[in-house]
Amino acid sequence: VTGSDWEREFADYVSARSRLLCTTAYLLCGDWHRAEDHAQTALLKLYLAWRRIDRRESVDAYARRVLVRTVLDERRRPWRREHAAAELPDLPGPPDRADERMDLLAALARLPGRQRAAVVLRYWSGLGIAETAAILGVTEGTVKSSSSKGLAALREALQDSRTSGPAAEGRAR
């Protein structure tokens, strides 16, 4: 694809950020294939809006907001018919900790959407409370409570999985 200057600028952005967006979506939805779909949807919307985003520093915020919205919209409809049912993630990598990673994804999937998004945005994306609140369209107080509840629920789930989950079973074997 050869295009105008702004399209080349957009292509550079996609090259630099597509993995980050896919990974964020992956943590939010738990399935890499769907994560790629969500990231492409977000990037498509970003492409359409690219020339009206004046400040470059706001591009990441815009992309994150669209991405989170896209994922949460789908999550509100867990069995919307035109979407494939969620599949267990098929992760490459060394087998020693693969079960632990699956435990985390499963624990994340059990969180309500807003809690999951708050945890991922704050502790994976490294965003502050105010920025997370802006992306989720909620108050800073809601972000604080969602983060706190999400962390507590994850801690509990991960502790449980150490004794009864797939990782524990794997270790027992």
Partner: protein, 318 residues
């Protein structure tokens, strides 16, 4: 463990998952190609939508707008097997929109059992729960470059059902459709905005399925919901789902059929939707994502998942 300990643990685990994620399977060039196609389709569709909106605004009857698509309702009827039975006479009375707004969409009239003030409140809160802006589908000179109004300010409630699972509202705005569950003062909205260039100006025939999904309320009640829009003249819609049947009255050019107790397993077969006119005649049927349709300019704006062949002209909503 303290909050900070939890945060460190979770951050470490998140980074571990992220570090082992697969590679990205698409390229910047692919995104740009899709974006270019979307911009081209969008401009055409917006122009088509604007034609419909302007024609309605100056009072051109819907029947005249359909002259480029003769007998589309008849054609659909001929293709579709007539379901057994007819609408029950006891099902609620249908209502029609109060007119057409400046945005080209029907202005919803009264919703049975929902005072106007409550409908406005539901629209605001459901729109707020969805968030975001409408963006590019508005008929603006350069739709790809212009952000639209906030969803919460642009959507209107067209239909509401109250049942054992609570309240469910169906909302539309320019370029947006929302399905909203209301439990007390909690609002949960899902929907579509920006991706469907025909939404909600054009219909695939006499009846559309805009949402065919399900879930559970905050109280844990499972449900399936099938809902969408109908063409003028449709007064009742028969929705069948896994042996269950709901006869829904057309309200403001829309219908909602919510099956309380349905789960993904119990409602696996695709829903079937049949639209009736006031005389009880079948005027159209719909199944999810079947058939392709064109706007008044001849561009395909509603796609068939199996491929766009032998597309028919779409029907103006109202």
């Amino acid at each position: 463990m303290t909050y900070d300990d939890d945060a460190v643990l979770v951050r470490t685990r998140l980074e571990d998952v992220a570090g082992h994620a697969p590679g990205v399977g698409f390229t910047p060039a692919e995104v740009i190609r899709r974006g270019r196609r979307r911009r081209a389709v969008r401009r055409g569709a917006v122009a088509g939508g604007a034609v419909v909106a302007v024609a309605l605004a100056i009072g051109v009857p819907a029947t005249l707008l359909r002259t480029s698509a003769p007998d589309r309702i008849t054609t659909i009827t001929a293709d579709a097997p007539t379901p057994t039975g007819s609408p029950a006479p006891s099902s609620p009375a249908s209502t029609t929109p109060a007119g057409v707004g400046a945005d080209g969409l029907p202005v919803p009239g009264p919703i049975p059992g929902v005072p106007a003030a409550e409908a406005r409140s539901i629209a605001r809160d459901c729109g707020q729960a969805y968030g975001g802006d409408i963006g590019h589908v508005n008929p603006t000179p350069d739709p790809g470059e212009t952000s639209g109004p906030l969803v919460r300010d642009a959507v209107r409630v067209y239909n509401v059902v109250r049942d054992a699972a609570g309240m469910h509202a169906l909302l539309y705005g320019p370029g947006v459709q929302l399905s909203c569950d209301v439990a007390g003062n909690r609002f949960s909205s899902g929907g579509q905005s920006g991706d469907d260039v025909a939404m909600p100006y054009l219909l695939p025939g006499a009846v559309s399925i805009d949402n065919d999904s399900g879930g559970a309320t905050t109280a844990g009640a499972h449900y399936a919901v099938v809902e969408g829009r109908v063409a003028p003249g449709v007064v009742r819609v028969d929705v069948r789902l896994a042996g269950e049947r709901i006869l829904a009255a057309a309200v403001n050019g829309t219908y909602i059929a919510r099956f309380v107790g349905a789960t993904p397993e119990s409602s696996a077969p695709p829903s079937r939707v049949t639209a009736y006119d006031a005389a009880g005649r079948v005027v159209g049927t719909a199944q999810p994502q079947t058939g392709c349709y064109t706007d008044p300019g001849g561009r395909v704006v509603i796609h068939d998942r199996a491929g766009d062949r032998n597309c028919r002209p779409a029907t103006p909503w109202h």
